[in-house]
């Protein structure tokens, strides 16, 4: 995968599709791997797919950066990086075919965000085609860049509502020398306090799981100090995810335990993945709301609940209108 560094992406088809939608006053939904979209009810909107937008543009292992087209499957990226002993810990969900662009657009991160940070922390540069068809690059290939407003952050987590993410430059790091999952009977809060920066602490209906990523001797010493027992990785529910203040997570997980709903709460983070029938999810949504949080339902097949519509503040509305004045980009979380 040593495509020339100078290789550019032909964005004309995307610009044309956006222009056509503008003329027709229609709506578009951007589609990456479809791992989220496929589980949502179909819409009338025309699909703008990034399936053709694949491949590595420039990989510089010595600079710890890689630039790829947004339609590149996350798994392909991870496999390539692994051959160089590197990773970008934005966590592919195995077998789901999700794309780098989709990862950025949804900004949903897994349990390793406790130590590795969120998706947004790994994005150095984005090439975006705005809803009104302007091609914009923000950020750079260097790890620090404060030249102008940080539109990389704006694109990350935008759920396809400000433009099409076309190219992405990601920050990389060496794969940790050792990584292993453990389990323990100790309370989650104690484990989090006693371990030095664990990679993940996950509270599930099958017990508490801990992931350590350190020098092998440190992994052994930490595990012994806290009484961790080797385990396989926990299985993560995929139907819905709740987000609460990390200080309220234990209240949500004990509620799920009592309600006999499969759950995986990211301790220290505040995200909780849940499975369950429609009634259970309605109850989970109510419980999350009581705790000041919210629930995002990602599988329409499992429930008649809509995805949680994000509350829109006037400032976000204005920013969105500045980039997509005709609102041709559909927010899949708020079907019209």
């Amino acid at each position: 995968m040593s495509d020339a560094a100078t290789m550019t992406t032909d964005l004309a088809p995307i610009v044309d599709t956006l222009a056509a939608a503008q003329r027709a006053r229609g709506q578009l939904v951007i589609r990456g791997g479809g791992s989220v979209l496929e589980r949502l009810p179909p819409t009338d909107a025309e699909v703008l797919s990034t399936a053709e937008l694949t491949g590595v543009i420039d990989h510089r292992p010595e600079d710890l950066v890689i630039t790829v087209r947004a339609g590149t499957p996350v798994e392909e990226l991870s496999a390539l990086l692994a051959t160089h002993g590197q990773e970008c810990p934005i966590e592919p969900l195995a077998g789901h075919g999700s794309t780098v662009g989709g990862r950025l657009a949804t900004a949903l991160a897994g349990p390793r965000q406790l130590q590795a940070g969120r998706v947004r922390d790994w994005v150095l540069r984005v090439r975006l085609v705005t809803g009104d068809g302007r091609v914009v690059t923000a950020g750079g290939v260097t790890v620090k860049d404060v030249t102008g407003y940080d539109l990389c952050r704006l694109a990350t987590g935008s759920w396809g509502t400000v433009g099409v993410i076309a190219e992405v430059t990601l920050k990389l790091r060496p794969i940790p020398t050792t990584s292993a999952w453990f389990t323990t009977d100790r309370p989650a809060s104690r484990v989090l306090a006693e371990l030095y920066r664990p990679a993940a602490v996950v509270s599930t209906d099958e017990g508490l799981f801990v992931r350590l990523e350190e020098h092998p001797d440190d992994v052994v010493a930490q595990a012994a100090a806290v009484g961790l027992v080797a385990a396989v990785a926990p299985t993560l529910p995929t139907t819905a995810r709740a987000a609460v203040d990390p200080s309220r997570l234990a209240e949500l997980t004990s509620w799920a335990q009592a309600a006999a709903i499969p759950y995986a709460g990211f301790v220290g983070v505040g995200v909780c993945l849940l499975d369950g029938d429609p009634d259970a999810l309605v109850a989970a949504g109510a419980r999350a709301a009581e705790l000041g949080g919210r629930l995002l339902v990602l599988d329409a097949g499992a429930t008649t609940l809509p995805m949680r519509p994000p509350p829109e503040d006037p400032m976000s509305e204005r920013v969105r209108a500045a980039l997509d004045p005709q609102q041709i980009l559909l927010d899949v979380r708020r079907p019209r």
Binding site: T142, R153, H215, P311
Partner: protein, 494 residues
């Protein structure tokens, strides 16, 4: 590329009717103690730590959010722009009170809003007011076994609001990241005095990440009145290493090797021979004075990983021909090694009356080339330039030393600064890594961004700050108004 000496500041002019009306309103809100209008006060707030200076209308020093909101509403009602300011250690002219179209802005200092509102040790976060000094949060966190990772060299003076507004960097960016990664939420006050909580306490965003846009907004998007910051546990072990090299290339090549090794160092600083000589003379940090460059390396975390990292670094430095490798045996030796790095600004102040500090970034693999280029630029312009580099990030801080009394020296200084920036751009780098755009780098943006990209940047700015009164002529190149900043260092104002 640099703003030329513009019109004389309107120091002696009487305030216009609108200005007088504003001052009357402000006096009512702030009292005598909170509003400064004298020539001496205005002189004190003419500039930040750059050379760019201009005359403000007055200085408002609100102590509370309510006062600040009233100040902002008064500016809005009288159509007077404002320049947010904190400690004034910025190096790009961001806090310099330049006006647009002959209107002098009001400087709004948040220095008095400096409380640590909450330190939530259990959940490792802190809620701060903008005027809180970075190092003070560090000390408060340390009492709980925690730390605040962003550590700009100016941390004993610079504020957290200023760090948010500039997306500051520091010594430990390589593994901990820049300021933005440590900002959970921003409370941004708009020109109507309304506070917007950008991103909240939840771990997943609901709308757009306007928090991320506001970080690095340089006072053009509103005033940061509060921030929720992430704290981290203090490391259990720290390993520090000092390595001397005969050539800059060898030091730069060592950095490249370290960055691709299986454990990243947490800090990689490089200083060249001129910087070494200067700080040794001043601070006696124990750097080898016969070296062309030294690397200061640090590994943090758990004991085995740290000692393996230090071993690897020592081996790699030796493989690249290091002449001397010293491992800090204890906290005292570690502090001594860092003392040299931290003494740079003080040492320079002793050596030369003036310095001009640049801030450019290149991909790490181009570091050697960039350092060579800086040396050549110094020779060509007949200037002393010393290099202090956040090498792990490819972020160079060339210090150009001079004496402003020397005839024509400023032209050479600015020419050198300009060449350093264009060289970085040619090496696929960028014009500023951490100091910001302010006024100093503003015109370079037209070289970096396409017209469409600039238009989108402007559109996002207007959407977030529709009044146009917040630090109006900063960050984006303007087409309107005349710039009233003066690049000339002022010698006679205090």
């Amino acid at each position: 590329m640099h703003p030329t000496s513009g019109t004389r500041p309107r120091r002696d002019l009487q305030p216009t009717a609108a200005e007088s009306a504003l001052l009357t309103d402000l006096g009512r809100v702030l009292g005598e103690d909170g509003l400064r209008t004298s020539a001496l006060s205005r002189a004190t707030y003419r500039r930040d730590a750059s050379f760019l200076n201009a005359d403000p209308l007055a200085i408002a020093l609100p102590s509370t959010r309510e006062q600040l909101a009233a100040v902002l509403r008064a500016c809005r009602d009288h159509g007077v722009p404002f320049t947010p300011r904190a400690a004034g250690t910025g190096l790009a002219g961001g806090a310099t009170p330049t006006g647009v179209g002959g209107v002098r802005p009001l400087v709004i200092s948040v220095a008095r809003m400096d409380r640590l509102l909450e330190l939530d040790a259990a959940n490792r976060r802190a809620h701060v007011e903008p005027g809180l000094v970075n190092a003070r949060l560090g000390r408060a966190a340390a009492a709980h076994g925690l730390r605040f990772a962003p550590d700009p060299a100016s941390q004993i003076a610079a504020t957290l609001g200023g760090n948010v507004a500039t997306n500051a960097g520091g010594i430990h960016v390589l593994t901990y990241g820049v300021m933005s990664q440590h900002v959970l939420a921003v409370e941004l006050m708009d020109a109507d005095g309304v506070v917007h909580l950008l991103d909240g306490r939840l771990p997943e965003q609901a709308g757009l990440d306007l928090r991320g846009v506001s970080v690095g907004g340089e006072g053009t998007l509103g005033i940061v009145v509060g921030a929720w910051l992430r704290l981290l546990p203090a490391p259990q072990a720290i390993g520090t290493l000092l390595a001397g090299f005969h050539t800059l290339e060898a030091a730069a090549a060592t950095v490249g090797a370290l960055v691709t090794s299986d454990r990243l160092p947490d800090a990689v600083e490089l200083m060249d021979a001129r910087a070494i000589a200067l700080v040794e003379d001043y601070a006696q940090a124990g750097y080898p004075t016969d070296a062309a460059a030294v690397l200061l390396l640090e590994y943090e975390g758990l004991p085995a990983g740290v000692s393996a990292g230090v071993d690897t670094a020592a081996r790699m430095a030796a493989e690249h021909g290091a002449t001397q490798v010293v491992r800090a045996a204890d906290a005292g030796q570690r502090a001594r090694i860092w003392k040299g790095r931290k003494a740079v600004a003080g040492a320079i102040a002793k050596q030369a009356p003036d310095f001009f500090l640049q801030d450019v970034v290149v991909p790490r693999s181009r570091l050697g080339e960039m350092l060579d280029a800086v040396v050549a630029i110094g020779e060509r312009e007949n200037l002393i330039i010393l290099n202090v580099v956040h090498a792990g990030d490819g972020n160079l801080h060339p210090f150009v030393l001079f004496d402003r009394r020397e005839e024509g020296v400023l032209d050479r200084v600015f020419a050198a600064g300009h060449d350093i920036v264009t060289t970085a751009l040619a090496l696929d780098g960028t014009v500023t890594g951490e100091h910001g755009v302010g006024i100093e780098k503003r015109d370079f943006l037209s070289q970096i961004y396409t017209e469409d990209a600039l238009a989108v940047q402007q559109a996002v700015r207007t959407a977030m700050e529709p009044s146009g009164l917040a630090n109006p002529d900063k960050v984006l190149p303007t087409t309107v108004g005349c710039l009233e900043a003066r690049m000339v260092p002022e010698g006679a104002w205090v």
